[in-house]
C-alpha cells in the first residue's frame, strides 16, 4: 500500500491515507478508517476463495455422475465454501468495512469508542481466518458448515478441530466489532444527533451489534463443547452414551439463525441510504424502518427451531417456532414497502448504487417470500435440506446482502478513496450480476421442490437440465463479480477525482473532505435537521 495514491492536486491536503506511510502505519493503526481498509482487503480475499470453491462445486454438478471430484473432495469443497463465505465474508463484510468506516463519521465522532479493540478485532479475524484456511490446506473438513454431531464429533476424521477453532476465534472478532459499535452509538454522538436523527444505516448497525453481542457467545461455547466432545468423547452430544445431538442443533441454531440477520441487517441499512439519495427524497416511515431493524434483531432470537422441523423436535415446539418465524417476516416486509414508497414522487436517477438497490429490493423480496415456504411446516417437511433451501438463502444472502454490499461500496467509494469508479463499466457489471444470479439460483427452486437433496455430489439424471442452467449462471455471476474487482483497483490510480459530496447526499460523512482527514472533522459538527432532508439539496451532480 505504500504506492503514492494521490495525483498532484490532492497531495497537499492531509487525509487518513497520505498522513503516514509504511506497513507499520497500516498494521498498527488505530484509525477506524484504516482498519476498515484492512478489513476490505482481507474480506475480498476470502470472498474470492469462497467464490472459487463455489465455482468448483458448480462445475462438478454439471453432470449427474460425480466425475470431476470424488465425493470426499466435493464434501470438503461445500463445507469450506460454507465456512469461508459465512464466517469470513458474509458476517463481517458490511459491518467491518463500511460500518467501521462510516459509523463514527455518520454520528459525528472522531473514532470508535475503543480504537485499540477495533484493531484487535481485525487481528483476531485474521488469526481465525488462518486457522480455517490451514484446515482447508491440510486436508479440509467434511462435516458441512453446521458441524452437526455425532458426525463432527465422532465419525468424521478430517480437520474438524482446526476449522472449529478458526470459527471459534473469528466469533470474538464479531463480538468486539458489535461491542465497539454499541458503545460508540450510545456515547459518542455529536451534539444534536438525537436517536430520531440517526441515519438508518446506524440503526441497522445498532441492531446488528445487538445480535453479534448476544448471539455469538453461544456458538462459541457450543463449538468449545464440540471440541471437548471430539477430544475426550465424554458424551455431551454423543447419543450412544446418553448425550443428545438435537441439543447441539438447538445451541448451534440459537446463534446461527440470528447470524443470518447479522448478515442482512447492515445491507438493509445501506439500501435505506441509497434509495433516499437517488430518489432525492426523505425516507418514508423513518420510525417504522428503525423500529423494524430492532424488531428483526429481537424476534430473530426466537425462531431458530424452524431449522429442526424434521429432526423429531416436539411438534408443539415446532408450532411455536413456525408462528414466530412468520412474525419475524413482518418487519422485513415493512422495510421493503417503505423503500418502494420512498420513491413515490421522488426524482429517481439510475447510478450504479441505485441499480444495486433495485436488485436488492427485488431479490430480497423473493428470498423473503420463499422463507415463508420454509416457515410453513408441512411444506418445510418436503423442501428442507433440498435445493429449495439452498436457493432461498442464496437469494437472501447473494441477492440481498452482496448486492447491498456492492451498492454501498460503489456509493461510498469516492468518500473512502477520493476517486470515482467508471460509471459505464459499473452499470454493465451490475446488470451481469443480476442476470447471472437469477440464472444460477432460480432453477434451484424448481430442483428443490422436485426433491434434489442438498450436498449431493452425484444426483439423479432428471435433475441435470436445471443444474446445467445453474452452472452457466454461476460462471456469469463469477464474471459479474470480477469486473468490479478490476475497475475498483484501477480507479484508485486513474479514477476521476471525486469532490467531497459527489452524490450531493445528506449525512455527516458527506460534510467532510473525501478521503476524510485523520479525525474525520476539523471541528465536531452540530446536527440541526433530520436524517434525510433532501428537499432543498437539488439534483445529484455527478449523475
Amino acid at each position: 500500500m505504500s504506492t503514492t495514491l494521490q495525483t498532484p492536486e490532492l497531495v497537499e491536503r492531509p487525509n487518513y491515507l497520505n498522513e503516514d506511510y509504511g506497513w507499520k502505519s497500516w498494521l498498527f493503526t488505530t484509525d477506524h478508517k484504516r482498519i476498515a481498509i484492512l478489513y476490505l482487503i482481507s474480506i475480498s480475499v476470502f470472498f474470492l476463495i469462497g467464490g472459487i470453491f463455489a465455482g468448483l462445486m458448480r462445475t462438478e454438478l454439471l453432470t449427474p455422475a460425480g466425475d470431476l471430484f470424488n465425493s470426499d473432495t466435493y464434501n470438503k469443497l461445500f463445507t469450506m465454501h460454507g465456512v469461508v463465505m459465512i464466517f469470513f465474508f458474509l458476517i463481517p463484510s458490511i459491518p467491518a468495512t463500511l460500518g467501521n468506516f462510516l459509523v463514527p463519521m455518520m454520528i459525528g465522532a472522531k473514532d470508535l469508542a475503543f480504537p485499540r479493540i477495533n484493531l484487535l478485532s481485525w487481528y483476531i479475524y485474521i488469526i481465525g481466518g488462518l486457522f480455517a484456511l490451514s484446515a482447508a490446506a491440510m486436508g479440509g473438513v467434511d462435516t458441512g458448515w453446521t458441524f452437526y454431531t455425532p458426525l463432527s464429533s465422532t465419525y468424521s476424521n478430517t480437520f474438524v478441530l482446526t476449522a472449529a477453532t478458526g470459527v471459534f476465534i473469528s466469533g470474538f472478532s464479531s463480538i468486539l466489532t458489535g461491542l465497539n459499535f454499541i458503545v460508540t452509538i450510545h456515547k459518542m454522538r455529536a451534539p444534536g444527533m438525537t436517536w430520531g436523527r440517526l441515519p438508518l444505516f446506524i440503526w441497522a448497525h445498532y441492531a446488528t451489534s445487538l445480535i453479534q453481542l448476544l448471539g455469538t457467545p453461544v456458538v462459541a461455547i457450543t463449538i468449545a463443547l464440540l471440541c471437548l466432545e471430539r477430544v475426550f468423547h465424554v458424551g455431551i452430544f454423543d447419543p450412544s452414551v446418553g448425550g443428545d445431538p438435537i441439543l447441539f442443533q438447538h445451541l448451534f441454531w440459537f446463534y446461527s439463525h440470528p447470524a443470518v440477520y447479522i448478515m442482512i441487517l447492515p445491507g438493509m441499512g445501506v439500501i435505506s441510504e441509497l434509495v433516499t439519495c437517488f430518489s432525492r427524497k426523505s425516507i418514508f416511515g423513518y420510525e417504522f424502518i428503525a423500529a423494524s431493524s430492532i424488531g428483526i434483531a429481537v424476534i430473530g432470537f426466537l425462531v431458530w427451531g424452524h431449522h429442526m422441523f424434521v429432526t423429531g423436535q416436539s411438534m408443539y415446539a415446532s408450532m411455536v417456532f413456525s408462528f414466530l418465524s412468520f412474525l419475524v417476516a413482518v418487519p422485513s416486509a415493512i422495510k421493503v414497502f417503505n423503500w418502494t414508497a420512498t420513491m413515490y414522487k421522488g426524482s429517481v436517477t439510475f447510478e450504479t448504487p441505485m441499480l444495486y438497490a433495485f436488485g436488492f429490493i427485488g431479490l430480497f423480496t423473493i428470498g423473503g417470500l420463499t422463507g415463508l415456504f420454509l416457515s410453513t411446516m408441512a411444506v418445510d417437511v418436503h423442501v428442507t435440506d433440498t435445493y429449495f433451501v439452498v436457493a432461498h438463502f442464496h437469494y437472501v444472502m447473494v441477492g440481498g446482502m452482496v448486492m447491498a454490499y456492492m451498492g454501498g461500496l460503489h456509493f461510498w467509494w469516492p468518500k473512502m478513496f477520493g476517486r470515482m469508479y467508471p460509471e459505464g463499466w459499473a452499470r454493465f457489471s451490475a446488470l451481469v450480476v443480476f442476470l447471472g444470479f437469477n440464472l444460477t439460483f432460480f432453477p434451484q427452486f424448481i430442483l428443490g421442490y422436485l426433491g434434489m437433496p442438498r450436498r449431493y455430489h452425484a444426483y439423479a439424471p432428471e435433475f441435470q437440465i436445471f443444474n446445467v442452467m445453474s452452472t452457466a449462471g454461476a460462471t456469469i455471476l463469477g464474471v459479474g463479480y470480477t469486473i468490479p474487482l478490476i475497475y475498483f483497483i484501477w480507479s484508485l490510480k486513474y479514477g476521476k477525482v471525486a469532490g467531497n459530496n459527489p452524490w450531493n447526499a445528506t449525512g455527516l460523512e458527506w460534510t467532510t473532505t473525501s478521503p476524510p482527514p485523520k479525525f474525520n472533522f476539523d471541528k465536531t459538527p452540530i446536527v440541526t435537521e433530520d436524517a434525510y432532508n433532501y428537499s432543498h439539496r437539488g439534483e445529484v451532480e455527478v449523475g
Binding site: 465425493s71 447419543p239 450412544s240 430518489s279 423513518y286 423429531g312 408450532m319 415463508l372 418445510d380 426433491g451
Partner: protein
C-alpha cells in the same frame, strides 16, 4: 420439439398427503407471485414515473403514513396466519402415527451410507422398500451412527433418523410405481450414494412378493433365535417368575417403575431397557442385574428382539399371572392405570423379592 424434452417441472404425487402439500405449495406460490409482482411493479412504475425529469423539481417531504404502515404489516400477517394454520394442520396429520392395527409396520435402520429395511414377515432389503398401494405404512426408524434423513420426494415425506432413539413417521401410497428414496441429512462421504427406490405395488402383487421372500423366517422368529443366543431366556423366563420381569404381554402395557413412576412399554422403552438396562428399573427389581448390550447388538437385532417381544401376546387363560389380556398395540385398559396384570406381577415378586 422443445416440449417433447421431458423436463420434470413438478414431482410425482404418490401419497395421500402429497396432494394436500402440493395444494398448500401452490397457495404459497400464488401469494408470493402476487407479492413479488406488487413490489416489482411498484419499484418499476415509481422509477419510471418519477425519474429525474427536470433538475429544479423539488420532491415533497413525505414523512410517512401510520395507516399505510399498519395496513401493510397487518395484512401480510393475516395471510401468513392462513399459511401457518394450514401448514400446522398438515404437519400434525403427517407426523401423528396412526394407531390402527391394519397399518403395516416397517423397520428402517440408517447406517453410514445405506438404508436397511426390515419387514415383520422377515424380508430384509438394502436401499429398497416395497409397499402396497392404499394401505398405511408405519416406519420406525433408527440410526446406527450419524443423523440421516429418510426422504421420499414423491410422498412429500421426510423424517430425520437420529441415533439414540426411534423416530417414527407414516405414509399411505396412492399410485403404484417406483419412486426415489434419498438421504437428506448430510451424513459423511457417501451421503449422495445413500439412495434407493420405493416400489409401490398393487395389493395382489405385494402379497406374492411378501410370500416369496423371508427365507430366514419372520422377524419375530429371528428375534426368538437372538433371544436364546444372547442368553436373555436364562433370566427372562416366559411363563414363570425368574430373576427378571416376565416379558409376555409387556408390550403396550403400563409398567410401574422403581420410585413410583409408570411408563408405557413401547418400542423406545424396550430398546432403552436392552441397551441401558439401568435407566428404568421395574418396581420390585434391583439395578445392576442385567448387563448392558450397548455395542454388542446392532440396531436390526434390537428391532428383531422387539418384534419377538411384541409377538409374545399373553395366552388368554394364563394361570400364573391371571392377567386379563392387555391388548397389544398402543391402547391400554382404560380406567385404572397399571392394569391388574401389572399389580399381580407385584404380588408374585413380593415373595421372592427377599432372596
Amino acid at each position: 420439439m422443445f416440449l417433447s424434452l421431458d423436463i420434470p417441472l413438478w414431482p410425482e404425487a404418490a401419497s395421500t398427503n402429497a396432494a394436500e402439500v402440493d395444494l398448500l405449495y401452490i397457495f404459497l406460490i400464488v401469494v408470493s407471485v402476487i407479492m413479488t409482482a406488487v413490489i416489482f411493479l411498484g419499484v418499476f412504475i415509481f422509477a419510471m414515473k418519477f425519474r429525474k425529469k427536470d433538475p429544479k423539481y423539488v420532491p415533497p417531504h413525505i414523512h410517512g403514513s401510520n395507516l399505510l404502515e399498519i395496513g401493510w404489516s397487518v395484512a401480510p400477517f393475516l395471510v401468513m396466519l392462513v399459511m401457518f394454520v394450514w401448514g400446522t394442520k398438515l404437519y400434525f396429520d403427517e407426523y401423528t402415527i396412526p394407531a390402527t392395527n391394519d397399518a403395516i409396520d416397517v423397520y428402517v435402520v440408517g447406517k453410514q451410507w445405506m438404508w436397511k429395511v426390515q419387514y415383520p414377515e422377515g424380508q430384509r432389503e438394502i436401499n429398497e422398500l416395497h409397499v402396497p398401494v392404499g394401505r398405511k405404512v408405519r416406519l420406525t426408524m433408527a440410526s446406527e451412527d450419524v443423523i440421516h434423513s429418510f426422504f421420499i420426494p414423491a410422498f412429500r415425506m421426510k423424517r430425520d433418523v437420529v441415533p439414540g432413539h426411534y423416530n417414527t413417521t407414516w405414509f399411505e401410497a396412492t399410485k403404484p410405481g417406483r419412486y426415489h428414496l434419498f438421504c437428506a441429512e448430510y451424513c459423511g462421504t457417501e451421503h449422495s450414494g445413500m439412495i434407493g427406490w420405493v416400489t409401490v405395488m398393487e395389493p395382489a402383487a405385494y402379497e406374492n412378493w411378501l410370500s416369496g421372500g423371508g427365507a430366514e423366517g419372520s422377524m419375530a422368529s429371528q428375534g426368538e433365535k437372538m433371544f436364546q443366543q444372547l442368553g436373555c431366556s436364562t433370566c427372562h423366563l416366559l411363563d414363570e417368575q425368574g430373576r427378571c420381569p416376565i416379558l409376555r404381554g409387556v408390550y403396550g402395557s403400563r409398567v410401574l417403575l422403581e420410585g413410583g413412576k409408570t411408563v408405557i412399554a413401547d418400542e423406545s422403552y424396550i430398546r432403552e431397557s436392552i441397551l441401558t438396562p439401568n435407566a428404568k428399573i421395574v418396581a420390585g427389581f434391583k439395578a445392576d442385574v442385567m448387563p448392558t448390550f450397548q455395542g454388542q447388538v446392532s440396531e436390526e437385532t434390537v428391532l428383531q428382539l422387539i418384534a419377538y417381544i411384541k409377538s409374545l401376546a399373553p395366552k388368554t387363560t394364563n394361570l400364573i399371572t391371571g392377567a386379563a389380556a392387555s391388548v397389544p398395540g398402543m391402547t391400554t385398559i382404560p380406567g385404572r392405570p397399571g392394569a391388574n396384570s401389572q399389580n399381580v406381577r407385584r404380588d408374585t415378586t413380593k415373595t421372592d423379592g427377599k432372596q
